[in-house]
Symmetry: C2
Subunit: 119 residues, 2 copies
């Protein structure tokens, strides 16, 4: 299910995170489906359970999954994930806009930029 690449310079927990993100986005792991337990996966990959736990903790902070002590970790719904992504991007968007407006760029210029985009 999860593939670690020895030559990948990124830390293991990052590789684990990316693997699960892909599996969830691709629908291989469905919303509310149980993920492998930290110990089970750690054993399969021959690494320390805490490394998996770190990956899960960060995935939870990014609201890709949710964890229930004693029960397990589960994939979040794709709608939830999409909403969170939009929320975060919107925050960056308005923040950047504010900084531009603050140093003298006009609203009209920003709006023109938007209108000029593809899609």
């Amino acid at each position: 299910m999860i593939q670690l690449n020895q030559r990948d310079p990124r830390p293991i927990y990052e590789q684990v995170k990316e693997n699960f993100k892909n599996l969830i986005f691709q629908g291989v792991i469905r919303p509310d489906e149980k993920m492998p337990s930290v110990r089970e996966l750690a054993q399969k990959l021959s690494i320390n359970p805490n490394t998996i736990q770190r990956a899960y903790r960060e995935l939870e902070q990014e609201e890709m999954i949710y964890s229930i002590p004693g029960k397990g970790s589960f994939a979040a719904s794709v709608h939830m994930i999409r909403d969170n992504e939009i929320r975060d991007l919107m925050h960056t968007f308005t923040q950047t806009a504010d900084r531009l407006l603050g140093i003298g760029v006009s609203k009209e210029e920003l709006i023109r930029k938007i209108e000029g985009r593809q899609i």
Copy 2:
């Protein structure tokens, strides 16, 4: 001219950078005015010249200053600095907009966001 804070957890070269950014923004160092030489400043602060050199190198990459081998380092013009800042922010702005458009947010919604801002 430059103040280093022993309790500041940031590396020395970062503190040096921030100090100069402020001095330039505040107009204490005027456009094209010569900055202290790497050795002179290093001696005053009792640190290695290479540490100053790193600060200067990064300030140059950010186009806050420009350096001429054998002559010295000089503050960039405030107009240049402002233009660079706008260029970078615009890049972030359009990039973020594109990602939002890509996952289904409409141009109209983004434009409304801009129009709703203060200033």
